[in-house]
Amino acid sequence: MPILASMPAMDDIDRNILNQLQRGFPIAEQPYKLAAEQLHIGEDELLQRLQAMLDEGVLTRFGPMFHAEHLGGGLSLVAMAIPEHDFERVAAIVNSFDQVAHNYAREHELNMWFVLATETAPEIDTVIAAIEEKTRYPAYNMPKQQEFFVGLHFEV
């Protein structure tokens, strides 16, 4: 993807860091030193730039990306169709559940979409039942059945 004029102050070194470290990071005693050598910069500079990009929010995070299902918990996407006049009430109820990690309004008859993350897999059904009872609308459970591998690499 092209470099964007609207991007925050980033130079070529930042872009190289982003492009390379999206792909992976070594496991070694001094991994930043190894990565920095590949980027032709110093270890300290890499550490400073990563910290700056985290502080500015250019990076959401830096580190291991976990596969939630393998951690033993439950994870699902849930959708609801809520009439406009009742939307705020239902959103407040749904958001009050700690297990609701993200909740988005979307343009569709199914206009509320949220992600449930629970300590245990069976808890997903319990939380959905509780949400249906409190809101009095059906909630459609759409757990992942199959994942297709994405490169998840945004060229910057």
């Binding site: 990563l50 250019v58 393998h70 910057v156």
Partner: protein, 169 residues
Amino acid sequence: MMDAIDRQLVVATQGGLPLVQHPYQQLAKDIGISSEAVMARLQNMLDSGIIRRIAAVPNHYKLGYRANGMTVWNIPDELVAGAGPMVAEQDYVSHCYQRPRHLPAWPYNLFAMVHGRDRAEAESHYHSIAAMLDGVCDEHQILFSTRILKKSGFRIRAQQQQQENSANV
């Protein structure tokens, strides 16, 4: 399977890898095992898929990709395994999953998140996928988000402690 020490490692790193010269050594000190053990355990979790990868996760929005659309597709079940990888490999797609239909309200079984600088670009990605799936899928939609109603991290608990984890959904 993960044991208690793996779980401690997850909790210690779900906020991020320490930004110090010897990050695995620091984790080792915090947990009370050797840095060799930390590295071996992380490598095992990578190999078994518990960790997808150790990497930088960019904020699409900050990078200028401000429009994200959830594209959804009704594909015959027997063709999903073939269509899914084709869609997933496009570089504007960040997540791609098969999920259950809920008829009649929801006929779609393949989901792909597409990212663009604006709605028009996200829509053009959507149309590219539609062209690619021509003949396999004639019922599809793109759903744009209009509002974030809630956004918090995923959490796993360990030692009565809750910490942020950013796992993919």
